[in-house]
Symmetry: C2
Subunit: 345 residues, 2 copies
């Protein structure tokens, strides 16, 4: 199970417009980096790893748009477009990780053509690299999954969120491929319904039995359906293991702890931000009220109500049984286990 | 703040169609008991106390429809329509409580006219009685609310759910009327959005500051907005205090416990079912998948997904700090405190 959510054909970037799912499978193609920024802002492209990949392709598009400029002007324009790209969404660190790699690659170039070629190589590498990391996360994550498990997940951490099979869903797909009988429960994930629209869509393309629930049905599902494992992705993980993920993850982790159900995070190392000591330091994006008060243009609430609409929340390390990365599963104390991941060997 | 959600004019029953809120304020009127059954099934009339009131008016309509029959036939038809009414929704016990009163009232009658008159008196009494009980619940509940409290509620337990000012919202309205500064956070309450549509609508008609959140934002709201109290209504309370309420309440109680926030239930004694020992014995209505997968006819999830859509969940007594009734606040152990409520004085 691998959905090509993004693809570079040598001159254009093709991407699946995830806001049109599940009703329509709309691919868009662009040669304009500002369309990539717009797509990230509007969540046409979403999922922390995929945002990193899209940003690197976006910077390649920018470079190709500036090739008629002199080298100094090219560099200035690249700096400006990198800043614009960085401002697209604040929480997922993979975006900044990819842009940092772009910066490093550009620093060792001294011509426009050299820069363009280096950025194309980088973007393809980041993309291919993420595919391999997803496979590795899937393999490590699948060791946590036993035959008969009933697994609850939140939002979408699948092929649509990455350049490969996904992170949390990657572990699920891998366990299924290993012949384990599992049942997946997917939170619909208000307000933008990535669970109903995207995760259920991905699961439907497999033979994995799956059931959709409203977010507020998680506690009853844990109890009545005997959920045995909860696994989600992450958008940024602090050095102490505090994990920022889609709004609702924190509550889910509390409910899992209450029921004695292990709660895992699955994410590539690019999601781990060792510069932030704890989750409190991670900026949480707030989205517009209309994402909660309207759906398809129809109002769900009275006009002019006040809305609190954070896109993410912080799950404290104490509620997390393990963080599955491409290099293995980190356990508490995370300050030690995560720093080992980045230690020079 | 009191919304007339139901009204008897002496020949017709007028009720607010709650499915049209907040977009439209549609009053329907009927002289046909089967329309009352349909309205309860379709949630045009909802909220445990209001369902009880509507059922008693519905039985009055039935009686008025059968007046041309002989007395024996009248009685048989009343029995049949009472069974139909009882089958409208399975969880809220106020329905069965009201129908039991109808049965008792009819038992001491021996004419059609006498029966009709007695049922009109009963329905008006049940309605007026609920109004008074709401006021008493509000007064007792307000003693739990302090100046500066930030209160989280779920679903709608207000004027729209009762014959008076409401239960959980009744306590909030009363505290506000007493001059206490409070801020209310309302869960939108998927799938039918009684929180966005109804609770926010009721709150907007007051000067109480209020904020709408998605259900999955409750944990973050508790932590970041320093929620100091959670209060909800209930649809049925077992003799041991286990409380069945709108799906999501159980998770909310777990999250409140995790944050050390007191969690209260507010409901009239008619919601307490002393015949059921624990929540496990209470039937939980499951609703159709389309309530989760579509909104206003537009699909939110792929076709043919499996959905688990219980309308209610059970909050175990151990997570409940108190049950606010019209006769005072019951505390653990509930088996004792609730049975005292019903003890002959």
């Amino acid at each position: 199970m691998e959905t090509k959510s993004i693809h570079w054909d040598g001159s254009s970037l093709h991407f699946l417009d995830q806001t049109a799912l599940p009703g329509e499978t709309v691919f868009r193609d662009t040669q304009d980096y500002s369309e990539v920024i717009e797509a990230i802002k509007k969540l046409r492209i979403r999922g922390a790893p995929l945002i990193g990949i899209a940003a690197s392709y976006g910077m390649l598009l920018a470079a190709r748009q500036f090739t008629t400029l002199g080298y100094d002007s090219f560099c200035n324009n690249m700096d400006a477009s990198r800043a614009q790209m960085a401002a697209s969404r604040p929480t997922a660190v993979n975006l900044f990780w990819a842009l940092e790699q772009v910066k490093q690659v550009l620093r060792v170039q001294n011509t426009v053509d050299g820069s363009v070629n280096a950025l194309e190589k980088l973007a393809l590498e980041i993309h291919e690299d993420d595919r391999k990391r997803c496979n590795a996360i899937g393999t490590h994550g699948a060791t946590l999954i036993s035959d008969g498990d009933r697994i609850l997940t939140h939002c979408n951490a699948g092929a649509l969120a990455t350049g490969g099979i996904g992170t949390a869903l990657g572990a699920i797909f891998t366990a299924h491929d290993q012949g384990k009988n599992i049942h997946v429960y997917a939170d619909e994930t208000r307000p933008l319904l990535q669970g109903s629209r995207l995760t259920m869509w991905e699961l439907q393309q497999t033979t994995i039995p799956s059931t959709l629930i409203c977010d507020n049905t998680a506690a009853m599902t844990m109890r009545d359906k005997k959920v045995s494992l909860v696994i989600t992705g992450a958008d940024r993980i602090a050095a102490n293991g505090d994990s920022v993920n889609k709004i609702g993850t924190y509550g889910l982790a509390i409910m899992a702890a209450h029921h004695g159900i292990p709660f895992y995070i699955a994410a590539p190392k690019s999601t781990i931000d060792m510069r932030v000591i704890s989750g409190d330091e991670i900026p949480i994006e707030e989205r517009g009220a209309e994402e909660v008060t309207t759906i398809n243009g129809k109002r769900l609430a009275p006009e002019d109500v006040d809305v609190f609409a954070p896109a993410f929340d912080v799950t404290p390390n104490g509620l997390i049984h393990g963080i599955v990365t491409e290099d293995g599963i980190c356990r508490a104390p995370y300050t030690e286990s995560l720093s080992k991941l980045f230690a020079p060997t």
